[in-house]
Symmetry: C4
Subunit: 249 residues, 4 copies
């Protein structure tokens, strides 16, 4: 199946979910608990996501269909949805421009999720894809911080607003993108930018930041089909080198 960032069929969307899950697991962006999702190109009222397993082993057969309240519409027998599937559902509701959602806990992002007063600013031009900054969401005090109700998920969506990602206190990050490929590339860029910015902070280096205009320009040029495909294929290749079972995807 030739890669197109915009999947036209549910099967294409499922393959993208599988490859996106594997990419983000392989690059260390997703751990055993994070997950991604995509709108169902064949039904505007549902979205697709793996059943509740770790991203590094998701296959096409694990993908289930959910509605925007987080209810399972169709699934293999016995399949359960992720605890936090409503996080995806409610962002799809709030953001018609978004086709793919990410939720995870990359180590490089957590320091910023612990410190609302810190701005995770772009020091690497690729980090400029988040040109309008990050939302910040704090779970109700005393909870385990998983987002399992539609009310809470709506609050996360509100904290996201018109941005591309929202940091979650002591927990992680939820992000939104135009398609699965953008979402993967953007998240890898966010993690890399956070790592470099932490280096600057640690080394006492006062950096020059990319401007919002520069970030927008980078986002525009690198979300075009040609560089996006090259990035996607690069990361798919890296994942396939260590994951034999997706050789044919």
């Amino acid at each position: 199946m030739r890669f197109s960032p915009n999947s036209k069929t549910a099967l294409e969307a499922k393959v993208q979910l599988v490859l996106g899950s594997r990419i983000l697991a392989n690059e260390g962006v997703l751990d055993g608990f994070g997950h991604i999702s995509i709108r169902n190109p064949e039904n505007p009222k549902t979205f697709l996501q793996s059943r509740s397993i770790s991203a590094d082993i998701v296959t096409v057969d694990d993908i289930i269909e959910l509605d925007f309240e987080g209810n399972i519409v169709s699934a293999p027998e016995g399949a359960r949805a992720y605890w936090e599937n409503v996080l995806h559902a409610r962002i799809f509701v709030a953001r018609p421009d978004v086709n793919s959602v990410f939720h995870g806990h990359p180590a490089e992002i957590i320091p910023f999720s612990c410190a609302p007063q810190m701005k995770l600013l772009p020091v690497k031009n690729s980090g400029g894809v988040f040109y309008n900054g990050y939302g910040f969401y704090s779970s109700p005090e005393g909870s385990d911080m998983t987002v399992c109700t539609t009310e809470e998920a709506d609050n996360v969506a509100r904290a996201l607003g018109d941005k591309w990602a929202v940091l979650m206190r002591n927990h992680g990050v939820t992000a939104a993108a135009g398609n699965v490929a953008e979402m993967c590339i953007d998240m890898i860029a966010m993690v890399q930018n956070a790592a470099v910015y932490l280096e600057c902070l640690k080394a006492g280096i006062t950096p020059v930041y990319c401007t919002e205009e520069e970030g927008k320009a980078y986002r525009a040029s690198h979300h075009k089909e040609s560089p996006l495909t090259r990035s996607w294929e690069y990361y798919v290749r890296r994942a396939k080198r260590v994951m034999d079972d997706i050789a044919d995807l």
Copy 2:
């Protein structure tokens, strides 16, 4: 053998010890000298632990049976126990609620083991499983810091108290858990939390911490059988990818 966090037979317990040893070696939590143990589900007066070899090669046939003074009860011919097996023995005596003990020297933990004045606080919600903090134990001055006598091991157990882990000066950490799976997941979480907290300290970021209530909530929800099994299987899979000889476990 289907995984259950609570082993009913000695064989199940041995398999858990093998997989737990491999997980912690593979994730870099155990080096060539650390070790784990489990109560013998078939004899309340003994516990099980590998003979004195590195965690990355422990097999079912290496497991020996010890009493709570650290004496070998049954073992393959010629097998020797770890120098510090009493550390495990005396914690089992002091803590009837504990079924699995860990002792190791993860690099991320040592900075805190060198600095009793530092609090290793939870910045990542998973780090909140150690919600009531850490004990601190300092070996008698001038020793090589290995804990080889029951008297010293009793002192470590006292320093542990009702907590889930005790830092050991310039040496490492000893931890306790309800079963082997919890012990592995908790130790990986401790190391990850320490790494993120070090990042905050290094970057001059003043973090918000998880509260004790939030830590308790996380511990309660993530020690349930379903998420625990998912984590366990995730880490077993990662270990099996690089350790051919445990493919059938």
Copy 3:
């Protein structure tokens, strides 16, 4: 084909480009978007470079020939050049002593590319190969920072001057060398030196620096054929361990 740092034929030059690309990808110096080039030993008016693909998969068949305005002279059907090929072209024009050019975005270098006031000084003797310092180039404000016009590329070449590398604001680094082997070894040394220097800055260690004379001495002794060949073969070997498809090169 026995390795000689100075390729005499276009085929030799292509093999060096392939191995150099693989080395730098394998050592983490090149990511999915960076690239290297070499003068065409068979035509003084052209240079050789891969078509627009990631460095980790470049093969002899991907190499195209370009003139010093960045126009394709010969190429496989349908092959496109890198966006920033003019960066290479204009440095070849400005620097007759240079036979190989590098452009990339190593994470260890970015903190210094964000901070013109910081000097990336040599704390490791191998870092002394950049004994006369680094140029600094800042893209026009508001751009996405890719260098796609000959005018801009000429400005980068001017910022490079008689040095061996030029840092690019919030973007990366472009470097020049006498041949592909020197270029690879020098870039790995630059990244390693930056990493150690960052460690000093982070740890509050005030280091002694290598003097310019010491750097020149190191450059002279380690660019000789014997140590250069040993380094080259060391890095080729490391790349071949993970990249089966270049076993025969």
Copy 4:
């Protein structure tokens, strides 16, 4: 061949050199240029070392015999010695208690080699094996810092004195040990201790240090045959997992 830390024959010594080289390459302690050596158990006037190749590929057939002026006594045809072989030769002369010498450039050590005012103190008990501190040697100003003359090598030996390692300005470290196994284990411990100490410095943590007495105790207990063999076999196993060609050693 069953492992004994004290080799009785030249062949045993050669096998230890091969395995020691592979261990240190595999653990990232030796790069493409570092090297180790051992006294010739069959001739008190010579020592053994690889010909001038990188540590990751040394085989028994590469080992050459040198005298204490650094002259080749016996070698395969065409074999050249390392530039810095006199460094080994002159330490064997100065230190009759030493049977194995190391010279390399681990990244974790360089920050301390750049800062004579910093003390690389033991924060990890295993780092206490260097209980009497480190010597410091500064190459003559303006050189490339390689040590190629007996006069300079004698100066390094003087800077080493009765210690177990000497830091070399902007360059690396040379170390001495009772046998190859001790040398490998000690160097890995030095690197790990430096890494943890750097973490403390970076995080602003004021550590408690191991006392000299504690370091001596650790050295005494962990250089005994049983723990030394366990460590050696642990690191040999790790090297063999990635280096097929030493499976039979």
